[in-house]
């Protein structure tokens, strides 16, 4: 077996309902402040659903990123640019450096926000043809990347709500194999009418603030955002004196192979993903100090994930929380958004709170409700599960 290089995280960037950079997100996590609220930016008939929107209009984001008005772009791409800008800045990577770096983005919705606005124009006239080219997932990754230069390679993973986690795993494999010394990975996804209605048709949206792992939970709140992490081979990071934020010490990807939109009762896929990640990291379950759960707030996910966590950890269940009560479910971006949240928790010594929880569910885990500031976290586990049973877990470790 080849590929035993250590994968470090030397930069991260985030934009979400609870903040537009790492500092703001940290502040919201420490204040236990939710970003979920009434709809403001998406134009939809379904104003009854609370959402975790990024508190910026497309025009405001264009100005932030210096995009000329009228340039064809999408909300997913704009949020991706903001997060990538922060990540590259923190890792001190400039335009010329990118030629040696890979870029792996996760998205599913892609440019659907514009396609649902201009669909009839696409059919009836040529006024919005430029937006046909922004429809697909791959063009979204190109728009995000091209704002900063040309990378060595680009690709896009689309495994629904585990897209960003799988992007991070693929990027880490590239580093372990020496395909690149630096790969930037994560995901971006805006809320669209398309998937708000899709989730509504599946009857998994809560009409109130979502309540992950609560007995009365009734579904998820859609969120949006983007996050990227800079993954770097250890000796390369040392040689260029990069600031090391954390280490990606293990990861696992497994398929629940049960149902397209439901998780198995025993959480087999989730159990396998967590077990693989722990095995790769060479850790025992008791070494994990915190789990950032997928915890969507749907009856099915939280029950299945609880079973899986109880199978993995037995009596040694560490503090667990879902941060989706604050961010909303950021779908394809959630794996990266929650990875950044885990890094913030590791570096600042606190346990993110499971906002929205009040009553324990039957046969479920009881999530963490105390910040416990000043605690020392060594290893944390971050879960991301997607439709189709695409389940992934990452182990993120503190660096001395």
């Amino acid at each position: 077996m080849t590929g035993d290089k250590s994968v470090l995280i030397t930069g991260c960037g985030i934009v979400s309902a609870i903040g537009q950079d790492c500092g703001q997100v940290l502040d919201s996590l420490l204040q236990v402040r939710t970003g979920v609220g009434p709809l403001k930016y998406l134009r939809t008939e379904h104003t009854e659903f609370p959402v975790g929107e990024v508190k910026l209009s497309d025009e405001e984001m264009e100005r932030m990123m210096g995009i000329a008005p009228g340039t064809p772009t999408t909300r997913t791409a704009l949020m991706g640019m903001i997060a990538l800008h922060e990540a590259l800045g923190e890792a001190k990577l400039g335009r010329d450096d990118l030629k040696e770096c890979g870029f792996v983005n996760g998205t599913t919705v892609g440019g659907m926000d514009k396609s649902e606005q201009y669909y009839l124009d696409f059919i009836e006239n040529d006024s919005r043809n430029a937006y046909i080219n922004t429809h697909d997932c791959g063009s979204c990754s190109e728009m995000i990347a091209d704002r900063f230069g040309r990378f060595k390679m680009i690709t896009t993973i689309s495994t629904a709500c585990s897209s960003a986690a799988n992007a991070i795993e693929m990027a880490a494999d590239m580093i372990r194999l020496g395909e690149a010394d630096i790969v930037v990975a994560g995901g971006s996804e805006c809320i669209t009418k398309f998937h708000l209605n899709g989730f509504n048709s599946l009857m998994i949206l809560d009409h109130d603030q979502c309540r992950p792992f609560d007995a009365g939970r009734a579904g998820l709140n859609l969120g949006e955002g983007a996050a990227f992490v800079v993954l770097e081979e250890a000796s390369h990071a040392t040689a260029r004196n990069a600031r090391v934020l954390a280490r990606l010490s293990g990861y696992g990807n497994a398929c629940d192979a049960f149902h397209q939109t439901a998780s198995s009762p025993d959480g087999e896929g989730a159990y396998l993903a967590m077990s693989k990640a722990l095995a790769m990291a060479g850790l025992k379950p008791s070494d994990i100090d915190y789990v950032n759960a997928h915890g969507t707030g749907t009856p099915n996910n939280d029950e299945s994930e609880s079973q899986a966590m109880m199978r993995v950890f037995g009596k040694d269940l560490p503090p667990v929380s879902s941060t989706k009560g604050m961010t909303g479910h950021t779908t394809s971006a959630s794996g990266a958004i929650e990875t950044v949240i885990c890094i913030l928790a590791l570096r600042n010594g606190f346990l993110p709170v499971n906002f929205g929880f009040s009553n324990p569910m039957d046969n479920g885990i009881v999530p963490n409700m105390e910040l416990n500031r000043g605690c020392k976290l060594r290893h944390v586990l971050c879960n991301s599960f997607g439709f189709g049973g695409n389940d992934s877990s990452l182990v993120i470790s503190a660096v001395e």
Binding site: T156, T159, F199
Partner: protein, 336 residues
């Protein structure tokens, strides 16, 4: 770290605009004068029950049929990994959902259409059908989706995580979206807008393999120096031909101009006139290369001068998307 590994291609199956699940196209290709052609579907009954088939769009049925057929021929029931590429995913169901949303409003939308619009539906369906709990992923990078999936599979072998992988790429094309991709320039003048479902079974071990895969490389906007180095590295043991994505459209074919200068005298093959153009096109090229090596000959339909060629040393498959995304995959006869 230089990768030194080789993986066998145990089987490769297609549902395209040629007769499905066979290699009849090598000698008797179907020819088309239309500029939009849908795939020739096999009888799905041998793979999928009628009840299941009713709930699945064309992409899912084709993905499942090529996958099960590839697994059967390769003699593997449960591959260690299932990795899929798709540019648009199940675009027919996506379109139905989008059309209803835009024209009829947000009240009576169908969950099955939404569920199938998610790109990873094919990979997960195959996982569910074969009870495979292993590595499962999906790539969506326009005409570079298959290349990305193959690259990931290659890495999974290299890190020692898997011993077998089912790699596929599947794209369907509705009449409405076929108009869109023309407008967007994804399919050009003189090219047939088509559909394709390709499944390839890779494994470390196995008998009667078509050929071996010796390496996969991906680049965005590579320099001339990078291209020279990659071509030198990958064709060092000499090859019979290079499988290109040239279609006959001048703007598209210009992207392959570097091959004339950097691989002079190496025959250039074209698969797009046979299979048409779609986001899974490069998978049809890869499949064609594997079939040529298995047969030991390259049929006239793929060559530029219309004469068949011997195929004893190997083929380098080269894909260039929009003049920026480059992929290189080297296929060799077994035991060479």
């Amino acid at each position: 770290m230089e990768q030194k590994t080789s993986v066998k291609i145990l089987s490769a199956k297609q549902i395209t605009i040629q007769n499905p699940l066979c290699e009849e196209w090598m000698e008797n290709p179907l020819e088309y004068s239309e500029d939009y052609v849908r795939a020739v579907d096999p009888d799905f009954k041998q793979f999928i029950s009628a009840g299941d088939a009713r709930r699945m769009g064309k992409l899912l049925k084709r993905a499942l049929a090529t996958s099960l057929s590839a697994l059967q021929e390769g003699g593997i029931e449960n591959p260690d990994a299932i990795i899929t590429g798709t540019g648009f995913g199940s675009i027919e169901n996506t379109e139905l959902f989008l059309d209803a949303l835009v024209r009829e409003g947000e009240q009576l939308l169908k969950p099955t259409q939404f569920m199938q619009s998610t790109h990873n539906t094919a990979s997960s369906l195959i996982g569910i059908h074969t009870h495979c709990h292993g590595y499962n992923s999906t790539y969506s990078q326009k005409g570079f989706s298959f290349d990305s999936a193959l690259y990931d599979a290659w890495m999974q072998f290299c890190v020692g995580r898997i011993k077998s992988a089912l790699v596929g790429s599947h794209d369907e094309m509705s009449p409405v979206f076929s108009g869109f991709v023309r407008k967007a320039g994804h399919v050009r003048e003189g090219e047939i807008c088509s559909e394709a479902a390709i499944s390839v079974l890779l494994a470390e071990n196995g008998d009667n393999a078509y050929c071996t895969l010796e390496g996969v490389k991906l680049f965005d906007t590579p320099s001339e120096e990078t291209l020279r180095k990659v071509l030198a590295d990958m064709t060092a043991g000499s090859i019979d031909a290079v499988m290109t994505g040239m279609s006959g459209n001048r703007d598209n074919d210009l992207w392959y101009g570097f091959l004339n200068a950097m691989l002079p005298g190496v025959p250039q093959l074209k698969y797009k006139p046979v299979f048409g153009v779609n986001f899974s096109s490069s998978a049809t090229g890869f499949y064609s290369a594997a079939c040529c090596i298995r047969e030991g000959r390259i049929p006239a339909i793929l060559t530029t001068d219309g004469k068949p060629l011997e195929c004893r040393k190997g083929i380098l498959a080269v894909n260039v998307v929009e003049g920026r995304h480059y992929s290189f995959s080297l296929l060799k006869p077994c035991g060479k």
